[in-house]
């Protein structure tokens, strides 16, 4: 019985195929994970501290960072809070500026108004933790809701900072969302970081010359 002999060159090619497939698979998974985490393809609402362009020590003594929300659920959210830690030795938190995400209002002819946020810059600068809260005590008449979101670029609020004298070029400062919640009356429907129903993305400030 005549043996069947393979072409040695062809044999080497055949041995390479599994490796090529494995590498392709890894690349594919990597790309998926990148897309998943970068662009939040899951649809879970995400609160994002937007990372700005590299800041100039000379020109950006004061600056603002947008905190945006990707989407909301179908219910009303009468309360919202977020806690962000920052390096209070190199940044001074100056306060909160208006975003463009509205709350419902039956006092306004447009049926909407901007929320008034509670925060304490003094306490935040002492502790290095910015705690910001909005609370509607009307039973939902002045709540956040999906209908008042824009198509894109939903800025919940803007954080205003000043660079302290201790800042140095090349410093990288993290702004970390320690906790955040869009609270619904039925807590099961809340968007909360603690339950995973709200995703967050931290911000990063890079200091240039």
């Amino acid at each position: 019985m005549a043996g069947k002999h393979e072409n040695p060159k062809k044999e080497r090619k055949r041995r390479k195929w599994p490796w090529i497939l494995l590498i392709l698979l890894i690349l594919l998974i990597g790309a998926f994970l990148f897309m998943y985490f970068r662009y939040d393809t899951s649809g879970t609402p995400t609160l994002i501290v937007e990372t700005p362009q590299k800041l100039s020590m000379a020109q950006n003594k004061e600056f603002t960072l947008d905190v945006t929300i990707s989407s909301l659920g179908d219910v009303r959210y009468p309360a919202m809070s977020m806690s962000l830690s920052f390096d209070n030795s190199r940044l001074e938190f100056l306060g909160v500026e208006e975003g463009n995400v509205f709350i419902l209002s039956d006092e306004s002819s447009s049926g909407r108004q901007l929320p008034i946020w509670s925060y304490s810059a003094a306490t935040a600068n002492q502790s290095g933790l910015i705690n910001i809260m909005y609370l509607d005590m009307t039973g939902g008449k002045n709540a956040f809701c999906k209908d008042l979101l824009a198509e894109e670029g939903n800025v919940v609020l803007r954080l205003k900072f000043r660079l302290r004298g201790s800042i140095r070029a090349g410093d990288v400062l993290d702004l970390i969302l320690e906790d955040a919640v869009f609270a619904a009356s039925n807590e099961q429907e809340s968007l909360a970081m603690t339950t995973g129903s709200l995703k967050t993305k931290n911000g990063k400030i890079v200091i240039g010359e």
Binding site: Y119, M137, S185, T194
Partner: protein
């Protein structure tokens, strides 16, 4: 046999099985479109309503009882839509409830019955009957068509009897239930000779009435029933029911004839049966003894109008001249001054006396008698309102304390918006309608009266209207009001008089005008023949006084207006009958002896009348009083410091002292604060830290070994920053001093006090304004700590509920500090009656340095019981931990917790359990409300400690 009766009474009475009876026609007279007629009898005789009127074919407006909401009585499963039109029908059940409460004067909540639709039977209490009822509707047994079958006919129960205008429902109850077998039992009906049921006959004088008395018979056990003439039955007639001028007897077919010569209105009636057929027995025992049923049947009654002459009109009474009461009034007021030389806060010997004297013009505004009273009031208000701490409220539950005082202060020209340090008017807005309504009608009535005495503006502009609406909606169908808003009590002259007085300024509102018109008529109708007014079963001078006040308020002369004169006796005549001339005082009831309260009320009623006949503004129209402008609250510069210490420690324990301050001005440019603490021997200081709300400085301290003096200074040495305190709540924590006991022997008591505290604005010592001395001389600026050995307990009450917002009045929060125990160890309390597992509070423990536990307990348990070691056990293991403000136990306090508290206050979600109350009442007052939600915000944003934690660390028992 008794067993059988029980069984039958359990299963049958409202579920009547009977044969169909011949339908009797029922004539509806003109004008009956909106009423039904109601008869109620017991053992063959009609019973009376609360006013003594017989329930005998009594007209009841449908509009009066169709409003009865069965759901409010827990009977929502008995709502009935018989015709399927999507709307619930008006049923006999609503009539029963209305008749029981409003007409008979009972409390429906005390009626016990099965609450299943279509099978209800009343087991007790309705109209005072011990057992069940049977009905007759329009001369027939009501039948539940839905349960009709060839085998049996089922009687309809009250929730299935749909009532229409003109219907007549005859209700009977018997002490003997043998009617279930009794073929002679049932109802009686007057009829014409054609067997048509009628309630009224008419004829000319001298003619003969030929009519018939019918008797419904039934055999409930065998489903048979019929209607026939009541043979050989006795009928009574007369001009007054029950007072017969003659009798008749029916023939063998129930026919009878009656001739009357005198025109007039006559009544015909027969009594029902209640005894044996031979008349030898009258009770149910007859059945027990003989096996023969008792004769039980309902009475009947009809009206006979005999025409042929005009009723002579009563001779018109001579118009009365208004009498002068000034002599009695002056003597009474003089006596009051003599009897009550120093009026003070209180229902007796206080506001009413001052009010009467002021409105009676006995003393002028500014007279020393009034000024002295006011001085006593300021002292009382500063103490009491401070203790209550509810925005000027003088009592947690009784808004009338504020109202009565405001009414009196306005009468002497004092402005109630600034009484001492408090605004008594603000209490209404701050505590809201729930606080006001805790006293039922009195709360809303007196709020209106008080606010209108000074035309006071309220920060909640809706308060007045909320009161008006609550009052109007509580009006009874007869036109009066009672003390409670639920209409479960009969109308009451006193309350109706007060209500009319309170509503007068709001008479332009149509609803108010309509309500008051009927109320005045009710008041007039209630007047007795002696000119007085009833109170319960009797009459009192106070009721008469309030009728007089109401009448004069509405421009009615209670001495001459026919509405307030009965049998020639006016309300004023009547009030004066309570006057005891020798003592110049009034009695509460005639012959009962003079009484201070009766004298107060009679005095101001006479003042009201005297003002009326002299054309002066009415008693509560203060347009003739000049009320002082509000004086700004005295601005006290005094800053007061206090120290909170644990009651007990072990000899080697570490513990904390929490120093607080009563006020702070963030605009005051305070630069530095310093003070000294006298630290006793055997105590070391391990740390001094600034409170979480204090900002702007850094702390420096030193314990001087020789003297034991701890010196503390707090300021910003580099930038001279202003010192500030975040948040609004005071007292605010300034510093925490961490002490360590150095092996002190048990039994010793150590004293720690703060002193020499000052707040400095600058370093210029020559400038007297550069330094504010803080009061450390007060008793709370020092404290005593008892050194104990081993495990020991001390307890304080953090708060008690006031039933207004979510915390029951019967509950209080207790904090127990335990020495000699490992933090977090399980702690159980059992006094033999109450077993309670305490929750460990890490926050209070951290604040005080001593292991601390909290629980919500019944107020009946004395707080000192929680300091009794005999009641505690330490079973081992970990105690359940409690974290104030963490409403969802997720370990994070954020917006969700604040919202959860708002939702609790809005009553969204489930009722709070005891531990929920502990967690949510973060500011430690008597209520869970939006202040607690704001407490969460403040904690979250400013890092401020919760009020309940600070309270636990600083409160002294």
């Amino acid at each position: 046999m008794r067993f059988n009766k029980k069984i039958l009474s359990m299963i049958l009475v409202f579920v009547m099985i009977l044969g169909l009876l011949p339908a009797a026609s029922f004539a509806t007279a003109a004008g009956e479109e909106d009423v039904v007629y109601l008869s109620i009898s017991f053992d063959g005789e009609y019973i009376s309503d609360k006013n003594g009127n017989l329930f005998a074919y009594m007209p009841v407006p449908i509009s009066a009882f169709e409003k009865i909401d069965l759901a409010e009585y827990g009977l929502d499963n008995m709502l009935y839509d018989g015709d399927g039109d999507g709307e619930y029908d008006t049923t006999a059940l609503q009539l029963l409830i209305y008749a029981h409460e409003e007409l008979w004067g009972g409390d429906w909540s005390e009626v016990t019955f099965d609450a299943l639709p279509g099978s209800s039977y009343f087991r007790g209490g309705i109209f005072g009957f011990t057992e069940n009822l049977v009905y007759f509707l329009n001369g027939d047994f009501p039948v539940d068509e839905s349960q009709q079958s060839d085998f049996m006919t089922v009687g309809a129960t009250s929730d299935r009897i749909v009532l229409e205008a003109g219907d007549f429902i005859d209700i009977a109850s018997f002490s003997c239930y043998s009617f279930l077998w009794d073929q002679l039992g049932g109802f009686h009906l007057f009829a014409d000779t054609e067997d048509n049921y009628v309630h009224s006959y008419s004829m000319e004088a001298g003619e003969t009435l030929d009519a018939k008395l019918l008797h419904s018979f039934c055999d409930l056990m065998f489903g048979e029933g019929w209607l026939k003439g009541a043979e050989y039955y006795e009928i009574f007639y007369g001009t007054t029911y029950g007072d017969a001028i003659g009798t008749l007897e029916t023939d063998e077919e129930g026919n009878f004839s009656l001739t009357i010569d005198e025109p007039g209105t006559y009544y015909l009636w027969c009594y029902g049966g209640n005894g044996s057929e031979d008349g030898t027995h009258t009770t149910c025992d007859y059945y027990s003894e003989t096996g023969t049923p008792c004769i039980v049947s309902a009475p009947a009654y009809a009206i006979l109008t005999v025409e042929g002459g005009e009723e002579p009109e009563p001779a018109p009474e001579e118009p009365r001249a208004a009498q002068d009461v000034s002599e009695v009034l002056n003597a009474t007021l003089a006596k009051q001054v003599e009897n009550i030389p120093a009026p003070a806060f209180g229902t007796n010997y206080g506001e009413w006396t001052v009010f009467g004297l002021a409105r009676g013009g006995y003393f002028e505004k500014g007279y020393q008698y009034f000024e002295d009273y006011y001085a006593r009031i300021v002292e009382y208000v500063n103490t009491t309102a401070g203790e209550i701490n509810l925005s000027g409220a003088l009592d947690k539950n009784k808004s009338t304390d504020n109202s009565r005082l405001i009414m009196a202060l306005s009468s002497i020209g004092k402005n109630s918006t600034t009484v001492g340090n408090w605004d008594l008017v603000e209490a209404y807005s701050a505590n809201g309608i729930n606080w006001i309504r805790k006293q039922g009608m009195n709360g809303t009535i007196w709020t209106l009266i008080a606010l209108d005495t000074g035309n006071f503006e309220t920060s909640d502009p809706t308060i007045r209207q909320q009161c008006v609406d609550a009052i109007v909606s509580a009006q009874h169908n007869d036109g009066g009001w009672s003390l409670v808003t639920a209409k479960t009590q009969p109308s009451n002259v006193d309350i109706t008089g007060m209500t009319l007085t309170a509503l007068y300024p709001y008479r332009d509102q149509p609803a108010v005008a309509a309500a008051c018109e009927t109320a005045i008529q009710w008041l007039s109708d209630s007047q007795l023949e002696n000119g007085g007014f009833p109170y319960g079963q009797g009459e009192t001078s106070e009721s008469c006084a309030w009728a007089i006040v109401a009448a004069t308020t509405w421009g009615i002369n209670p001495d001459t207006d026919p509405r307030f004169i009965k049998n020639g006796n006016s309300a004023i005549d009547n009030l004066l009958t309570y006057y005891v001339e020798e003592e110049a005082m009034f009695e509460h009831g005639r012959g009962a002896g003079v009484n201070a309260m009766a004298t107060d009320q009679a005095a101001y009623a006479l003042v009201a009348y005297d003002r009326f006949i002299n054309n002066e503004p009415s008693l509560y129209d203060y347009s003739d009083v000049v009320i002082d402008e509000p004086t700004p609250a005295p601005e006290t510069d005094e800053m007061i410091a206090t120290i909170g210490l644990p009651a007990q420690i072990n000899g080697a324990d570490a513990f904390n002292g929490v120093i607080s301050i009563n006020k702070w001005d963030n605009e005051g440019a305070y630069k530095l604060i310093d003070f000294i603490v006298e630290v006793p021997e055997g105590i070391d200081v391990t740390d001094v830290s600034a409170g979480s709300r204090l900002a702007g400085g850094e702390i420096s301290w030193n314990l001087e070994a020789d003297t034991g003096l701890l010196r503390v200074v707090y300021f910003d040495a580099n930038e001279n920053t202003d010192l500030t305190i975040t948040g609004e709540e005071f007292p605010a924590e300034l510093f925490t001093i961490s002490f360590k006991a150095m092996n002190i022997e048990g039994g010793e008591k150590i004293n720690i006090g703060i002193g020499g505290m000052s707040v400095k604005l600058s370093s210029d010592s020559s400038d007297e304004k550069a330094m504010i001395v803080v009061d450390t001389e007060n008793e709370k600026a020092s404290g005593e700590v008892e050194v104990v050995v081993g495990i020991s307990y001390s307890a304080v009450c953090l708060y008690t509920g006031d039933n207004i917002d979510l915390i029951p009045e019967a509950k209080k929060a207790i904090a127990v500090a335990v020495t000699g125990i490992v933090n977090g160890t399980k702690l159980s309390y059992n006094d033999g009656t109450n077993a309670i597992d305490f929750n460990y509070s890490a926050e209070i423990t951290e604040k005080t340095g001593i292991s601390s536990y909290v629980a919500l307990v019944d107020t009946e348990i004395a707080t000192e019981n929680f300091a009794n070691e005999d009641y505690f056990t330490i079973p081992g293991g970990e105690a359940p931990a409690i974290s104030f403000g963490d409403t969802n136990s997720d370990g994070t306090i954020n917006a969700q917790d604040a919202l959860n508290i708002v939702n609790s206050w809005l009553r969204i979600g489930e009722e709070l359990a005891d531990n929920d109350i502990l967690v949510q009442n973060v500011n430690g007052d008597s209520r869970i409300n939006t202040f607690d939600a704001l407490g969460i915000v403040e904690k979250f944003v400013n890092g401020a400690d919760f009020g309940v934690v600070t309270k636990a660390a600083t409160i002294k028992d």
